[in-house]
Symmetry: C2
Subunit: 344 residues, 2 copies
């Protein structure tokens, strides 16, 4: 059973993951990309994964066999385990908690080497739709305070399997980073009686220099205090606290917007490793109205080093205004907009 | 001039570093290790660096020429610039500040491929001693609120030059991470009227399972809520708020302790990339008594991915108790204790 441990000084929780336990010698091995035939996320290899929690599949196909276009499974090496009741206990000055939670993997495509920028808008919409389904389902479990959805693309961004997938982790506590954003948004609201993200959008639409693209209901921009070169945010233009507040009609628009943005980054930076993270408010309704959901995309181009670890500050060698200008200049329309292309 | 920008939501500052400005194409290049002949940190190449701020050198040698054993220079590509007065300005909802600060490099050895674990105790003591000298000097500058000392070892840990060096950055604001630790330590002090680090040391000395080694005035341990496999802390056993509170006699002990610890990590993990960071209290005396300085060493064995960026939590696959047991089992005494050896 994994264990959650709390840093007694700054209150940060850490998951000590026994399921993924690695001996010192394991850190010296080098990972090799898997061929499709050995890939547990490829059609025909369904038996190599835990049973599916949800799948979008052909009407006559059987669960846990081929015929799917999208598949959600429990993580084989979960950071947190779904069974058990929450149990917090002190250990002298320290706090620990058993690692109850959910850890699911969303296999986004049956095609082994198709990345999200290459997927069709309909495929990306299905991914967003299944995020909604899984969040809605897991929110009913009162043990979970937060549901995080994220994607690691490329080995340098932490992806252990190449086959395109995202992950969902439901946690029994509101994560520190989310708590900080909620606090900041609330402080601003108390002071100005407006949503801080809405005010940021208003200012960016006037200043324009950090905008990447505008997709009706969604805005793509480089944030003013970007931590990383080409850090990119996608925000709904109207106030929506939770990802689940998005209207059905907007799923198509967001899918188009994500495809366009990921393709711009791919072309601008030669298929960079990246993480994207869905930032939304916690499950509990007490946070209603104090947040504005958005997606943060962070290409992995620089290394986080001693300065960043020591300060919590970041050194970013590319002004967001330059990154935005460069991303605007990419000619996405000349690219085949649907279907698979060879990796660059 | 670099610019400091504040994230309006969570208040984190970012340095937009124009001196290090990188065009998108620059992120695609691969760095190659330099030979000693081309290395700007090697004796004979002093002209390739800014003039030295301080050096330990042979009595008859000239500044900025060979004959030194340790050399401190300004960073050629500084994240912050020493000239100018502080100037904060709003930009609508945003805050910016000109990037005033100091950024120095401590070249720890004249030998190109000698890492710190291989240095003599006397050499490491000199490095610690020059940290003290530079901190004492820069603390007089009232523009600076904090002085951070850190080391990046290995390319994966962010070292851009292989030749062993550490860095010092003086910042015009107390960094977010330092502020969090100070707040946590103060909260605990207000509640229990004791230093939290002193209480941690007391508990670790009783529980023993996370101890690595004991060096009279210093304790080496794996923290209870380790973020990373083999994260290792070195703490003075008695209460000392600031690194500068250390007695002269303890410099030798700390140098021995650091050599022993870095050698254990090197042997256990096959010369891993790592960062170490000196955590000490800010310059201002208002923080007196609320902190306990220490050194945090973080080997770079795992990748920080979407989960960590999204939550501020960490997933650590190696329990600190296992890491401590493994580090204790390393036979450091059988190794040549002084002088250079070939890299493992």
């Amino acid at each position: 059973m994994p264990e959650l441990r709390k840093d007694p000084i700054i209150g940060r929780w850490v998951i000590i993951s026994t399921e993924r336990s690695r001996r010192p010698s394991a850190f010296q091995s080098v990972s090799r990309p898997l061929e499709a035939a050995q890939c547990p996320f490829c059609p025909g290899n369904e038996a190599a994964t835990p049973p599916e929690v949800r799948a979008y599949r052909a009407p006559n196909s059987e669960p846990n066999g081929p015929g799917w276009t999208l598949r959600v499974i429990s993580n084989k090496y979960p950071a947190l385990m779904i069974e058990g009741t929450l149990n917090r206990a002190p250990d002298g000055i320290y706090d620990r908690m058993n690692g109850v939670g959910a850890h699911e993997v969303i296999i986004e495509t049956p095609v082994h080497d198709q990345d999200m920028a290459e997927m069709s808008v309909a495929q990306i919409r299905d991914v967003l739709w299944v995020y909604r389904e899984r969040m809605t389902d897991l929110q009913r479990d009162t043990r979970f305070e937060y549901i995080l959805i994220f994607k690691n693309h490329g080995e340098a961004a932490g992806a252990s399997l190449e086959h395109s997938h995202s992950q969902l982790i439901a946690t029994p506590i509101v994560p520190k980073r989310v708590h900080e954003e909620l606090q900041g948004a609330r402080r601003y609201y108390e002071f100005r009686e407006r949503c801080i993200y809405c005010d940021i959008i208003r200012q960016e639409l006037v200043q324009k220099e950090r905008l990447v693209s505008d997709h009706d209901a969604f805005l793509v921009m480089e944030p003013f205090a970007s931590r990383f070169p080409f850090e990119t945010w996608i925000l709904p233009k109207t106030h929506q606290g939770h990802f689940l507040n998005m209207s059905d009609a907007d799923y198509d628009t967001l899918a188009r917007c994500m495809k366009d943005t990921l393709m711009r980054l791919k072309l601008a930076l030669n298929n960079p490793p990246y993480n994207y993270i869905l930032h939304t408010r916690p499950c509990s309704s007490e946070y209603r109205g104090q947040y504005h959901w958005h997606i943060e995309i962070i290409p992995k181009l620089t290394k986080v080093a001693g300065f960043e670890w020591g300060t919590g500050f970041y050194i970013n060698p590319t002004p967001p205004e330059e990154a935005a200008a460069f991303l605007r200049s990419i000619d996405v329309d000349s690219m085949p907009s649907e279907g698979k292309r060879e990796p660059v």
